[in-house]
Symmetry: C2
Subunit: 118 residues, 2 copies
DNA sequence: CAGAATCCTATATGATACTG
DNA sequence: CAGTATCATATAGGATTCTG
């Protein structure tokens, strides 16, 4: 075990796992511009099932990345928003997007070359 | 589809998927300090099966992130190394590690609070 | 040594229907 | 509206064996 990243429970791995989770990142991006309700998220994040959305929101909430505010009204209204920690994570996601946009052409070209060569 | 990140095939998603992949990141980290042979990787990356290691290496190679050099000797010798694109990606991984180390305490505290509150 | 082939299981995810 | 419960499945991943 030379560097910490090899342990399953190291900090990097835990963050990596969350970043690698499709729905988590999408939710964070969605909430970057302000709070949203459950149904708004469900509608705007295409293809997500209620089950996965709830599971994702719970995970993000547990990690302190988003807040969940229940308004005691009928019908129910629940707002989700990024915490300051979540906003900090969003900064990381933005970095990822920048890298992706800057290098996706290289990756795509490499794939074409690889696929034609094999 | 408001932002590109919602598409399955957008640049960010593709990079995210690779970053989120356990073994890919570990291989990149392993190769950050220089080239390594297949068996070295297999030994030092704990718990990886030949199947997953090969699959991971092929994926990284296809994306132009690592190079694969076969030495025509007996017994076979194959070296893997980061390409310049791969080194660039490693920069991103380092950024992730820094964020993780800086904020893991907050995340952990949030988890404890959440678990005790529920 | 480097990896391919095979078999098998666990987990993640999806679809759907229901409820306070 | 904001979920929960249930069922079904796909597929990622692991263990193992074999070979150029």
């Amino acid at each position: 075990m030379e560097t910490s990243v090899y342990a399953k429970d190291c900090p990097s791995r835990q963050i990596l796992d969350r970043i690698g989770d499709t729905w988590s990142v999408l939710v964070v991006v969605m909430l970057a511009d302000g709070a949203h309700r459950y149904t708004e998220l469900a509608k705007r994040i295409e293809g997500v099932s209620p089950k996965m959305l709830t599971q994702t929101l719970r995970g993000l909430e547990r990690d302190g990345l988003i807040s969940r505010t229940v308004h005691p009204v009928v019908p129910p209204r629940v707002d989700y928003a990024l915490t300051s920690l979540g906003q900090s994570l969003y900064g990381l996601v933005e970095g990822l997007e920048k890298w992706a946009e800057a290098h996706i052409d290289d990756v795509q070209a490499a794939r074409v070359a690889y696929d034609s060569g094999v």
